[in-house]
């Protein structure tokens, strides 16, 4: 008999559980520490572990108890009452009697079973509650009782608020209780502010296993079973891909992983399938049937549909299969999500729904199959674990007496032949969610495994792009060269491979080789138009980086004139050419490019937003165009859901410059409030310049400076305001300020520095900067500053900081 009980970890040998513990070590040791502290000090902890069935809750509390039992010092002061999961309590009275029963089983001499007899004699329930409370406390003496409760949510359902208040009062009045509880989900009784136990428990969620954790689990299972083959396979590339697919199949559910691990590398399934089906039917089915009973008919149908499909589904598909509108299904799904029946995953802009508890699907399947047809979970498992050739081989070799094994392998084999590789399907699903621009090591590994399994040119290309984006061009080139050597590669993939090749050569600094490839592509008559446009675009941007603006503009113009790229790419070329025009000081041409992409609505919101900001920025320096600049910024501000937040803040900050220059102080303040944000405030210098220039004494400056300081302070940006203040020193030669004016300006900042430490250094440098100007630009005044501060100010003033060393 296995030492690990799949459905009753509390009956398992704790040492075996220790051996396969993965990802929960922190939670277990944290819980043990908390209970230890509760036993030895006046602190009393109450912990609640939340997770769906099979997530490892019982495993966890079994180990908490096991570890505590191994601490003699703690156990001198601690008594553990592990409540029987199958019993219920409808009142605090019955709960305390349960606790007593649990204690008397383990500590019969301290908590004699018959000692509660007198409690049963009391007909008055409050008298009985008082009596059992006193009895428990008396028998407990100075010790603390650790109450281990599974399914706390179910207990609260039967309790009701009145009993919850009683229990809470009991715990508050007698500080000798410590709790470690579990629940399938967060529930009103602990998560609602009006509930007596709101915030009472330290809640820890048991998250599904990640692929890495699942791998670790299987490695530990292999070690526990002394299965060297499995141990080796788990760490191999093939094994890794299969565990990832298995992860898909199980939703990261710990119990399912343990179950499926028993089927790994088994030649025969004869002795495993039957007991497994029975176990599922007896232990899971009643539970899930009970849960389904509480749902409305439509909600039940949704759950049943999700049970019948192997992977997450979009709303559209669910609505179609249930002959309902997407809106109705969406609403029901949202309710089901709140009730923890389903979970949603994001794929791009689409929400996909799946069962929150993968075991529910299994139970549904067992019910549906009725022992007649193979369970899909196990069939899918075989399809994932063995490739097609392996399945075919096994089907041929299975002895005719092994009907179950034959049925499973035949089904898996047939499905693989008709539906293709489930392994590749799962890997592709996972890979679809990868953002290549933010590719982690684990993502790279997945892309590599996928291309190894699927051997498709598209997957190879995607992997090489990911490598390139991670600055691993050498490895990417190896992949690309393999693609270039392949035959029957679709033209557009081949074009993409060649484009990637020159990008990788460029990244590796192999300029000559890169140029050779670029010229070969541009000069070859058979080059496709789109590849040519892309390569020209690539070369244009390279020219830009080298500061060769006219060559860059010429290449990008050729791309634009060819008009062969899709509109979103063309919009980017317009944007890039516009930006190059800005660098080359061709402002009118820049405005034309930005206007073209804005007017023709060809780009994404981000591209258009950048163009509007840039066009506005150029226009705001022309008096006659400030209104149209404001209009550009306002377009972004008015459409907050369309543009990125960062861009909207920039629009606010730039609008504030125009408002300030017009003396529209209230609007400027409103823009600043929305726009100032830590690390983004490049416009600070403009604000300071304008505020200083728009007034000539403290009566005008004081309120404006205070307002600016407040806004920067509220947005944690005072350091940037200080930097802007130091930078602004150089403008004193442009602003026609009297000596008195300069001193008043400086005094105002000095006053603010008293309240804000971030402004102390800037105010000091401003003071010396002003002394520099009032002394007729005498550099010796800078010598009042320590050398590092002197250097900062010299740079701000545009002086050669080395002069004072002469």
């Amino acid at each position: 008999m296995s030492k690990i009980k799949r459905f009753s970890p509390n009956w398992s040998d704790p040492r075996a559980l220790e051996a396969i513990t993965v990802a929960r070590e922190g939670l277990i040791s944290g819980a043990v520490d908390s209970v230890r502290e509760s036993a030895l000090t006046k602190n009393k902890h109450h912990l609640l572990f939340v997770g769906p069935r099979g997530s490892g809750k019982t495993h966890l509390i079994t180990l908490v108890r096991h570890r505590l039992l191994g601490m003699p010092k703690v156990m001198k002061k601690l008594r553990i009452a592990w409540l029987n999961e199958d019993e219920t309590s409808d009142s605090v009275l019955s709960l305390l009697l349960r606790i007593h029963r649990a204690l008397s089983k383990v500590y019969p001499s301290e908590f004699p079973t018959d000692s509660t007899e007198s409690v049963y004699d009391l007909t008055d329930r409050s008298a009985a509650l008082e009596a059992i409370t006193e009895l428990l406390l008396e028998q407990l003496k100075e010790n603390t009782v650790l109450v281990l409760i599974e399914n706390l949510d179910a207990l609260f359902e039967t309790f009701g608020e009145g009993e919850e208040k009683k229990w809470r009062a009991l715990i508050q009045n007698h500080s000798q209780f410590c709790t470690v509880a579990t629940a399938q989900r967060l529930f009103r009784g602990v998560a609602d502010q009006d509930a007596p136990f709101f915030g009472f428990f330290r809640v820890e969620h048991l998250k599904p296993f990640t692929v890495g954790e699942a791998t670790e689990l299987l490695a530990k299972v292999a070690e526990e079973r002394k299965d060297n083959d499995l141990a080796g396979f788990v760490v191999s590339s093939r094994g890794r891909a299969r565990i990832r697919a298995l992860h898909h199949l199980t939703g990261g559910n710990q119990r399912l992983f343990i179950i499926l691990s028993e089927f790994i590398n088994r030649e025969s399934l004869e002795t495993l399938v039957g007991p497994f089906e029975e176990l599922v039917d007896e232990q899971l089915t009643p539970y899930y049937q009970e849960r389904l009973r509480w749902l409305s008919p439509l909600q039940r149908r949704i759950v049943e549909y999700l049970c019948s499909v192997p992977k997450p589904q979009p709303v559209k598909a669910i609505a179609r299969h249930l002959f309902n509108s997407q809106q109705t299904i969406s609403k029901q799904l949202s309710e089901l999500r709140n009730l923890h029946y389903v979970e949603s995953r994001q794929r791009g802009r689409e929400s996909l729904y799946e069962l929150a508890e993968p075991l529910m699907r299994l139970s549904h399947e067992v019910k549906e199959a009725m022992g007649q047809t193979p369970l899909r979970l196990l069939v899918d498992f075989l399809r994932v674990w063995y490739d097609r050739e392996e399945l075919e081989r096994r089907v041929k070799e299975i002895p005719s007496s092994e009907t179950i094994t034959f049925a499973y392998f035949s089904e898996a084999c047939a499905r693989s032949q008709t539906e293709g590789s489930l392994l590749v399907e799962f890997l592709s699903d996972d890979a679809a969610a990868i953002d290549l621009n933010k590719c982690s090591d684990e993502d790279l590994e997945l892309l590599r495994d996928l291309q190894d399994e699927s051997k498709s040119c598209e997957d190879k290309l995607r992997y090489s792009i990911a490598l390139y984006l991670r600055n691993k061009s050498q490895e990417a080139l190896v992949q690309i060269e393999l693609i270039l050597k392949e035959v029957n590669v679709p033209d557009e993939k081949m074009d993409m491979a060649r484009l990637m090749q020159i990008s990788c050569l460029d990244q590796l600094g192999k300029t000559r080789a890169m140029q050779r490839e670029v010229n070969a592509i541009l000069n070859a008559s058979q080059t496709s138009i789109s590849l040519k446009a892309n390569v020209l675009g690539f070369r244009g941007l390279r020219w830009r980086d080298l500061g060769k603006y006219s060559e860059a503009i010429s290449d990008l113009t050729e791309v634009i004139n060819a008009n062969t790229l899709p509109s979103h790419q063309l919009a980017l070329i317009y944007l890039e050419r516009g930006l190059i025009h800005v660098r080359a000081q061709n402002r009118e041409s820049a405005i034309k490019d930005f206007s073209a992409l804005i007017d023709q609505e060809m780009g994404s919101a981000k591209t258009t937003g950048t163009a509007r900001i840039m066009r506005g920025f150029i226009n705001m320096f022309k008096n006659e165009n400030t209104e149209s600049a404001l209009c550009d910024f306002q377009t972004l501000i008015d459409e907050p859901e369309q543009f990125p937040d960062k861009m909207i803040r920039e629009a606010h900050r730039k609008s504030a410059i125009i408002r300030l220059s017009r003396g529209e102080w209230n609007q400027a303040k409103a823009n600043l409030r929305q726009g100032i944000s830590k690390g983004e405030n490049d416009e600070t210098i403009f604000y300071l310049y304008l505020i200083c220039n728009l007034g000539h004494d403290h009566t005008m400056w004081a309120p404006n400076i205070s307002a600016v300081v407040d806004v920067y302070a509220e947005n944690d940006s005072l350091t940037e305001l200080g930097a802007g203040l130091v930078e602004s020193v150089k403008y004193f030669q442009d602003i026609n300020l009297s000596k008195k004016g300069m001193l008043e300006w400086q005094k105002l900042w000095e006053d603010h520095a008293k309240k804000h430490p971030q402004l102390v250094l800037p105010a000091r440098l401003l003071k010396v900067g002003i002394q520099y100007f009032t002394s007729g630009e005498n550099e010796s005044v800078l010598l009042d500053l320590p050398s590092e501060e002197r250097e900062i100010l010299s740079q701000a003033l545009g002086l050669d900081s080395s002069t004072d060393k002469k």
Binding site: D33, N43, V50, S126, A127, Q172, A191
Partner: protein, 397 residues
């Protein structure tokens, strides 16, 4: 020191409340106290610490009354607590013994010698009289700390009817007048004014707690909050590159509320570094998670119940929306202008009276610059974020 959000803390680990507790003892020397504040602000921890460390001359009898359902259960509980105190000193409650005979074997509600239930008012007044007599000549004073009193009143109202709840309140008032040597410190997280409002609907006109000093502990001082965060970061052995920055950030994000400080620290993963950025991210992800147990939506949801008249709820929402974007708060004039620009059918008078109620319900405070601002920074942040989420959801749907 380990984080223990919601659990019971050893008295020495209840930080930052010493000054407030000293003030409470000073007040108790002259008056009874009603301590009311938001849930999880730390009221129970304060009375636990006071019970554990009373100044010389005080005898404390602390009890959470939230589980009691009837006036008789309440009176019995008070008697039993008083009795256990005196029996330690080998003394007994004379008047009560006259009433019920021997008290050795009492279980449940008190019974008269003839077996009928002892009248609860009689039990309370005799118990108080006995205690008063016993301690009159002593240098010690008795103080009852009764936790969750609004729960008790609500339970009695539900189980025995509003008239009984009113009687209990009036009895408490007369006991405090008749036996000034005995002090009461009552606490509750539900505003007693809401319980009274319910009772007033049933005809109650008295003001039973108007002789009580009303206090609200509120969040910790910033310095204490930082110190607490610092101690917890240390105790939890988290990886913290800049403890000062992280502690300050925790205090600021949680609005200096010790429970939220404990909770945020307890939720930080041990495997990653704790920085201001990771703290911001963690709190934000916690607050927007579908499965979250912060329940800050409570502050929004209960408005419907608390402000049922006319367009009060709309005006209150406008007040809170206006303040949620203003970390530094708003002066009353600016606030009124903003509210009037969004809710045309309101006036200064209505806004003023609602502001007063929002102060009583602990939504708002006036800060040192006399500006209205959210009492809890964490609620302000959630309110701002929550409103935006709602707008986005509407637009997307």
């Amino acid at each position: 020191m380990k984080s223990n959000p919601g659990g019971q803390l050893a008295p020495e680990e209840i930080l930052g409340r010493d000054e407030f507790i000293a003030e409470l003892w000073e007040i108790l020397a002259g008056r009874n106290v009603y301590m009311n504040d938001l849930r999880r602000i730390g009221k129970t921890m304060i009375i636990n610490k006071m019970e554990a460390e009373p100044p010389p001359g005080w005898v404390v009898l602390k009890r959470d009354l939230g589980g009691l359902r009837t006036a008789s259960e309440f009176a019995t509980r008070v008697f039993r607590d008083a009795n256990s105190l005196l029996s330690i000193k080998k003394r007994s409650l004379r008047r009560m013994t006259d009433l019920i005979g021997s008290v050795e074997e009492i279980a449940g509600v008190l019974k008269l010698k003839n077996g009928s239930v002892a009248p609860w008012k009689e039990v309370l007044s005799r118990t108080f009289a006995d205690l008063d007599e016993d301690y009159k000549t002593s240098e010690e004073r008795i103080v009852f700390f009764w936790d969750e009193v609004p729960f008790l009143l609500d339970n009695i109202r539900t189980d025995e009817g509003p008239a009984r709840a009113m009687e209990v309140l009036d009895t408490l008032r007369s006991l405090t007048q008749d036996y000034p040597s005995i002090r009461l410190l009552l606490t509750g997280s539900v505003g007693i004014h809401h319980v009274l409002t319910e009772l007033r609907r049933d005809g109650y006109n008295n003001s039973p707690l108007n002789t009580f000093e009303r206090v609200a502990p509120g969040p910790l001082d910033r310095g204490d909050a930082i110190y607490l965060a610092d101690q917890l970061l240390l105790g939890e052995k988290l990886k913290v590159p800049e403890r000062g920055d992280a502690s300050e950030c925790i205090a600021s994000l949680t609005g200096d509320v010790p429970f939220y400080i404990h909770r945020l620290v307890s939720r930080m993963p041990k495997s990653k570094e704790v920085t201001p950025a990771s703290l911001h991210d963690k709190l934000e992800s916690e607050l927007i998670a579908a499965d979250n147990d912060w329940d800050l939506a409570h502050y929004r949801n209960r408005l419907t119940k608390y402000y049922p008249n006319g367009n009060d709820e709309t005006v209150v929402l406008s007040i809170l929306d206006s303040l949620s974007g203003e970390a530094g708060g708003l002066p009353v004039a600016d606030l009124m202008n903003r509210v009037k620009s969004t809710v045309p059918k309101t006036d200064d008078e209505q806004i003023r009276s609602l502001l007063k109620l929002l102060l009583a319900d602990h939504y708002l405070v006036r800060n040192s610059r006399n500006r209205y601002t959210f009492r809890l920074e964490i609620v302000r942040r959630w309110w701002g974020g929550g409103s935006r989420t709602v707008i986005l959801t509407i637009r997307l749907s």
